[in-house]
Point group: C2
Chain length 295, copies 2
């Protein structure tokens, strides 16, 4: 096993094909292929399933994680030795879409000043980001689960507060005044979901005693989801931090003032004593001050 | 084969699990399971691979497409007969992220007024949306390929014009003045990619004679990609329609005034004589007037 082989594995998994990996490494596809085969011979296992995209096998996942750690340690050791070296280290990170659309953005501002780090984001549901950490796909992740992934540290970041909101026109269509109070017809008002994995609204509806769910639109983009809510396509649970001013200006109405849902978020990252990871963690922690504190 | 079985297949594939499908249909998971088994017996083939998420087999894909067409025809026939019926018909659509972030949004405004249609968007690279049409996952798609999918009509929508842009600070760092003209150091200036499938920037760089690609950050969200460009994390190809005012206010600089890239987009949709599909097509066509016309 050598560094070149591990770098080839990283590139194949990250880029998805041997050709794209060759581009990334500035070598020929057959050189990539030879390195992968040599790696497989040395560990006695197939490491990558040749598909589109290429997927690491179980043995490949174990190597992948090591490969990322070695790449980072190599870059930082070279720097400490003053030998220059590759200079750029790759930090693959997983973040949920609502975070990337809101409080996480200042991390990109910070990263712009680093110069020595390449940021590769993966967007996943916060319930699934820790899987990417476990499989060695990313070095750090914003997750919904406090359960520590082996070899990682975990800390509370805060919570995104989701408010149930709808455009006033839609509200009016699906609610009635009962004894001076507005009662929302949750069983009929159409609902916005991010996609099939998004269970936040359905759980909300079940907690309101709704058994047969109303029609649900799927809008798999944080910004488009908000736009759809404002357009009156359906009601949705929208991050409070994303809708500033929109209640005040009358484009959105909060459907129940005590009906918000707080989704706690954690930061999980490899323990590696790497200055880049420490700097990244400080940046994520600073950005998370924009969301609400967790008790 | 009956309607109930086809509806069960649709729900299992769209929701991903038998449990979520049961929720969607308002029946028990075992009822869903029985319907799928009965469907498999009647066609003599396994239709769904039981995984997380559930994936249709090849036979399942053929049925899936029919199931969506039948569901739509059923809803519209019931309406024509004045018997009310399900009322809501589901329109699964595929759209690329940059379209959803820009010109496609007014389609959601239109959809908010329809009332009889549930919109389920899938976000995919425009080179891959036609696969979703072919596999029966969606009824309509914004695609990069003019090749007609069997059973679908296709029309030109226009093109998204991408401008190579960067924050002025980054520009300055990676360009030099040669004989009064700015020369960008494409080999070194870090680049923003949407993700590993995004080849737009790499092709651009190769056309500028760059063999070894510069460090590339991955930012898989249209809005965050734009934010990263403005933050100076890297240069990127940004839809002209998305950056209005940002060149004028000095937050972004166009790197080469004649270096834009036009990505043509097509609308492909099932031929089904369905009023909902015709209305949708008119809405998409209207929204596409915001992008540049194709010759």
């Amino acid at each position: 096993m050598n560094f070149e082989q591990l770098r080839a594995l990283l590139a194949v998994v990250d880029e998805g094909t041997f050709e794209a990996a060759a581009d990334e490494l500035g070598v020929s596809p057959s050189a990539v292929s030879q390195r992968i085969k040599a790696l497989e011979t040395s560990v006695g296992n197939v490491v990558v399933r040749r598909a589109v995209p290429c997927v690491p096998t179980q043995a490949g996942s174990v190597l992948l994680r090591m490969a990322r750690q070695v790449a980072l340690l190599e870059a930082e050791t070279m720097e400490a030795l003053g030998t220059g070296g590759p200079g750029q280290a790759i930090l693959p990170l997983a973040v949920n879409a609502d975070s990337l659309a809101t409080w996480f953005l200042p991390v990109l501002d910070d990263a712009a000043a680093w110069g020595d780090t390449v940021v590769r984001l993966r967007v996943e549901d916060e319930a699934h980001t820790s899987d990417l950490l476990r499989s060695g796909d990313v070095v750090g992740a914003v997750t919904a689960a406090p359960q520590r992934v082996a070899g990682c540290s975990t800390e509370k970041l805060g919570a995104i507060r989701y408010q149930p909101v709808a455009a006033p026109r839609l509200c009016e269509l699906h609610s009635s005044a009962v004894a001076g109070k507005r009662v929302v017809d949750w069983a009929r008002m159409p609902v916005l979901r991010y996609g099939p994995k998004d269970d936040l609204q359905n759980r909300f509806l079940r907690e309101h005693g709704i058994e047969v769910l109303p029609p649900s639109h799927h809008i798999p983009s944080s910004e488009a989801y908000l736009a759809a809510a404002r357009a009156g396509l359906g009601w949705g649970l929208v991050p409070e931090v994303q809708m500033e001013g929109m209640v005040a200006d009358g484009s959105l109405e909060i459907l129940g003032p005590r009906d918000h849902r707080d989704v706690p978020l954690y930061w999980q990252v490899w323990k590696l004593g790497s200055p880049r990871i420490e700097r990244l963690t400080a940046s994520v922690r600073g950005a998370a001050e924009a969301i609400i504190a967790l008790g």
